[in-house]
């Protein structure tokens, strides 16, 4: 059965058009995807992302357990810090990408993709043998709201979390907004500065409406999944299921920066990852900019000098650049590099594209 978030009715009131996504009824757009996109780049947008999963890991061996699951070095995390990682299978393929937050010693919060909660939990439980840990799925108890955009900091300040008390980039802290206890983290999926707010379901509607009201003077608008997708694509942030899957490693996905090169602990997929770090990979993720008007989409083929070299995994319009952009996996070959001209096959026709740097739009979220 399709699930509804606790904010479903509030979103309908605001004119949301709902679609099914990962088993949930979610807003795809309110006014217009382009308008919502620009709101987040210029002012501030409010997202309901309560479909995402929240998993707590605690116990004496929680650090050792998490270090077995991901190629990041979780021991580098200090209290209240967060780290972007991937859950890997034994072959180094990505089961999910996620953020681990260290709440305190031996207590971690993991935020995972809605579409992968079951796979993630199964994998965690299977790997927990011999570790003194508890894995607790709390997804059904929490709502997740995101406030993203250049005015997010001012909005949060106005709502009572003063600038000097706001968490730093990739940090989380307990806070109180409108007398509601919650977690605020400085994370997001738009390439903009902003926050994610984890709140108990019973307070989410109240909080949502307070934010909508407080946000008026900052030009805040509710934002649907449509703009969430165009925003993350401009920022070249991966979407699980499109750009990441169990047959793709973080090295192939251009995520080497999130893989520890010095971690001594053994982890799932380490052999493959170390081999790929040393010897390179067969495929690599690249950014494409279309030189003709057609739009490259998921599964369109990519050609170089008449040779099939890869496939588009995400593609669409960039409302900020006013160009069509895409992420694609192509053969890892020296001749295929930034500046190379390729063709994308769209509805049996070939359209020119150029390999360009990622992200397509410079991220402004690092503070």
């Amino acid at each position: 059965m399709t699930k509804k978030t606790f904010l479903h009715d509030e979103q309908i009131k605001l004119g949301a058009r709902m679609i099914e996504f990962a088993g949930w009824m979610m807003p795809v757009q309110y006014s217009s995807i382009i308008d919502e996109h620009k709101t987040v780049r210029e002012n501030v947008g409010l997202f309901d992302v309560s479909h995402m999963g929240e998993v707590y890991v605690y116990g004496k061996d929680s650090l050792a357990f998490l270090n077995k699951l991901v190629p990041q070095d979780v021991s580098r995390l200090t209290d209240s810090k967060a780290i972007y990682c991937q859950l890997l299978n034994k072959e180094g393929g990505i089961i999910d990408d996620l953020i681990i937050y260290k709440l305190e010693t031996e207590k971690y919060l993991i935020i995972v993709n809605a579409s992968r909660i079951d796979e993630d939990l199964n994998w965690m439980v299977r790997n927990s043998l011999g570790f003194n840990v508890e894995i607790e799925n709390q997804s059904h108890n929490y709502s997740l709201l995101a406030i993203q955009g250049p005015k997010a900091v001012d909005l949060m300040d106005k709502m009572g979390l003063k600038k000097e008390n706001q968490p730093e980039f990739f940090s989380i802290k307990r806070a109180e907004l409108f007398n509601i206890n919650l977690f605020v983290s400085r994370t997001g999926y738009t390439g903009e500065d902003g926050f994610e707010i984890l709140v108990k379901n019973e307070f989410s509607e109240l909080l949502w409406n307070y934010i909508v009201e407080a946000g008026q003077e900052f030009g805040l608008k509710p934002i649907g999944l449509g703009a969430r997708d165009t925003l993350r694509l401009e920022a070249a942030l991966h979407l699980y299921g499109n750009d990441l899957d169990e047959k793709t490693t973080p090295i192939e996905a251009g995520l080497s920066w999130s893989v520890s090169k010095t971690k001594s602990a053994d982890y799932n997929g380490k052999e493959t990852i170390q081999k790929q770090l040393a010897q390179g990979t067969d495929k690599k993720l690249v950014g494409l900019k279309m030189l003709e008007r057609a739009i490259a989409r998921h599964e369109h083929e990519v050609y170089h000098n008449d040779e099939l070299i890869g496939v588009v995994t995400s593609g669409g319009v960039s409302p900020i650049l006013n160009e069509n952009i895409a992420l694609a996996y192509v053969k890892n070959n020296k001749d295929i590099c930034i500046g190379s001209m390729v063709q994308v096959k769209i509805r049996e026709k070939f359209y020119k594209a150029e390999l360009v740097k990622r992200p397509f739009v410079q991220k402004k979220n690092k503070v």
Partner: protein
């Protein structure tokens, strides 16, 4: 006169309007609203012929690509170049500036038998 008076609509959301023996084809306001921001349109060449139900054009919104079907058989006699250059015209004016193609058809009478008047179409999709 209402913009939708005299038009016939298909269940796949194309509209057909007759004028001086030619037929103008476009997309209904309902289709346009469902698509959202339109960013790309691919129209056929003048002279191309299509059967009723065949795909003759592709439209892309920010979200996805969709195909557009011939509501009746016919031959393309004119295409709306301005919507190819500025697809957002479709969002603004689906029945006036946002038409797609004009066709000549020998079989309009019989082909349009399953098309609906606008009010019936609205009822059908409600």
């Amino acid at each position: 006169m209402s913009l939708t008076e005299g038009i016939l609509c298909s269940k796949s959301h194309e509209y057909l309007r007759e004028h001086d023996g030619e037929y103008t084809i476009g997309l209904t306001d309902y289709a346009i609203e469902q698509l959202g921001d339109i960013v790309f349109l691919e129209l056929p060449d003048v002279g191309a012929e299509f059967h009723k139900g065949e795909v003759f054009a592709t439209i892309e919104s920010v979200k996805a690509a969709s195909e557009i079907y011939m509501p009746i058989s016919g031959k393309i006699v004119e295409i709306n170049e301005s919507v190819v250059d500025n697809p957002e015209i479709l969002n603004e004016s689906p029945y006036e500036k946002g038409w797609l193609v004009k066709i000549q058809s020998e079989s309009a009478a019989i082909d349009s038998i399953d098309l609906l008047e606008y009010d019936d179409y609205k009822e059908e999709i409600a």
